[in-house]
Amino acid sequence: MICVRFFARVREALDTEELALSEADVADLDALQDHLQQLGEPWRSVLAEPNLLRAVNHEVVHGNRALADGDEVAFYPPVTGG
């Protein structure tokens, strides 16, 4: 399974903290995002935000990346700590 987590404004807009998907359905990060966007609104528009960030296993990923069983994916808005 692949664990998908959502944070901050993205978490609130989706009303979802986390979910699990089978790696058989989502071979890579782009496929995972497409899969979620096909759930309809609000998924389609929230995950289409241009400044959305993606991480795999606690590392920010720019571009696409293959996914494997046990991976943890996160979607979140630009950070505002400090």
Binding site: F7, A8, R9, H58, A74, P77, T80
Partner: protein, 145 residues
């Protein structure tokens, strides 16, 4: 303690954290303390973070600072949860043989932390609640390095 990262809800004592950096033949210790900004009707904030990734990303930033400058130690403490305006929110300390490295390393860690570590602020006040938007000026400061 070449690198020390703490993420916690509770308050902290900057002097105690500074003392941990002293010794080890350090000729300079530079520290920064950040506070929750009030104004604009903001009474407080809540800090959300991504446990695990938060610590990992701060450690990565600290390691990069250690490799760019001749730092003896980097220490970072960031609070999470509900914090009133005026509260201490973040502390960064660096130690080095000379002040130049310690100053640069401290500012670098703070600038990178603001743009790379997965924390998100939500403000509360007379307006209700609102997520804080990332600022291009913070991004520009981080890109200087």
């Amino acid at each position: 303690m070449a690198i020390c990262v703490r993420v916690q809800a509770g308050d902290f004592d900057p002097l105690q954290l500074q003392r941990e950096l002293e010794g080890n033949d350090a000729g300079a210790v530079v520290t920064f303390t950040g506070y929750v900004k009030g104004g604009g009707g903001v009474s407080g904030i809540s800090l959300e973070h991504y446990p695990g990734m938060t610590e990992h990303s701060i450690e990565t930033i600290a390691r990069e600072a250690m490799s760019r400058w001749s730092l003896k130690a980097v220490s970072v403490l960031h609070r999470v949860g509900h914090l009133p305006a005026g509260a201490q929110i973040v502390w960064v300390g660096t130690s080095a043989t000379h002040r130049g490295e310690a100053f640069a390393g401290c500012e670098f860690v703070m600038d990178y932390l603001k743009t790379r570590a997965p924390f998100w602020k939500k403000e509360y006040g007379e307006f209700g609640e609102r997520w804080v938007e990332s600022r291009s000026s913070d991004q520009a400061r981080a890109e200087r390095w």
